[in-house]
């Protein structure tokens, strides 16, 4: 998939279908350690150890309408091709925790992408669900929790156009602020790298 947020959406739709009423997504970017970690937890019906073992197999699905379940294997392939891994821990009746890791600067790592659209797509599910999204970049944190919004809104549904727009712009603005912080560092890094390269070529010359 072109964005990691699409893999995250896929995992969250799985959670909704597993009866979850609340999901948490934690995205941690650590530029010094060069790692990206995505953790998705839900309070759905969970899986037995047998099912957990099978879920990474693309030819396994609980569905009856088709015979392949590509979502988790695709997510795992994305992590593995970036010197990372995907692990799933689950307990029947309690919920599931999925952790995917990546080398942050890996050339094949897809961008995180449009998390605002991913979260909105989940909040517009047929059944009422809530989710918390925490994004950390080098210790800076952006946090979104739909239960807080629901509390303020009372009976107004998330599908209301003004609420949808509020959610999208709240997340987009928060993400942009986080990015601005890390972008400054990246630009500095690029400038330093350039100077280094120049010095080397001058020395060689």
């Amino acid at each position: 998939m072109e964005e990691l947020s699409l893999h995250i959406l896929d995992a969250l739709v799985n959670a909704v279908e597993a009866g979850a009423s609340r999901m948490t997504v934690l995205v941690e970017e650590d530029t010094r350690a060069d790692r990206l970690r995505i953790e998705i937890t839900d309070n759905g019906r969970g899986m037995t150890q047998d099912m957990v073992a099978k879920v990474l197999d693309p030819f396994y699905t609980t569905r009856k309408t088709r015979h392949v379940g590509l979502g988790i294997p695709l997510f795992e392939a994305a992590a593995r091709q970036c010197e990372g891994a995907l692990t799933i821990r689950s307990e029947a009746g309690k919920g599931t925790e999925l952790v995917a890791t990546f080398r942050l600067s890996h050339v094949d790592r897809a961008p995180l992408g449009d998390m605002a659209s991913t979260i909105l797509a989940v909040l517009l599910s047929e059944r009422q669900v809530d989710m918390e999204y925490v994004h950390r970049v080098d210790g800076r944190t952006f946090q979104f929790d739909s239960t807080e919004i629901r509390k303020e809104l009372g009976t107004i549904p998330f599908s209301h156009p003004r609420v949808r727009n509020f959610i999208l712009s709240f997340i987009r603005e928060g993400e942009a602020e986080l990015r601005q912080g890390s972008l400054k560092k990246k630009i500095t890094g690029a400038i330093e790298g350039e100077v280094e390269g120049k010095e080397q070529s001058e020395w060689r010359g």
Binding site: L6, G71, A121
Partner: protein
Amino acid sequence: MARLKSVEELKKLRVEAQRDLMVRTQTGTRIIVGMGTCGIAAGAREVMQAILRELESRKIEAHVETVGCVGMCAQEPLVDIEQAGKARVRYANVTPENVPRLIEEHLIKGKVIQEWAIGRLDARKIQ
């Protein structure tokens, strides 16, 4: 501070949104977007965004919902449109570019786009 500001914004939004809520709940139009792995990989999230944008720019009242895989993976993205008292119509291979025509013809003119539709479910059978 940012958080306090957003809570105030939400309180204001609640009062304003409450006024038109009654009208909205009575319109009975649902647009359902398949959001399984197959749908997501084929661009369903972008189709959903295009639908939301189109509804907003034309000031159309409709409930947009997402569901998991519908079972016709090769035809994704799939979008169902259901209007009160009418048959539910399923459209296949929907792209963001198709969305304006879909909204214009199906929702505004009330005409099913035959070449894009792949199924129809009788209103009584949905209940």
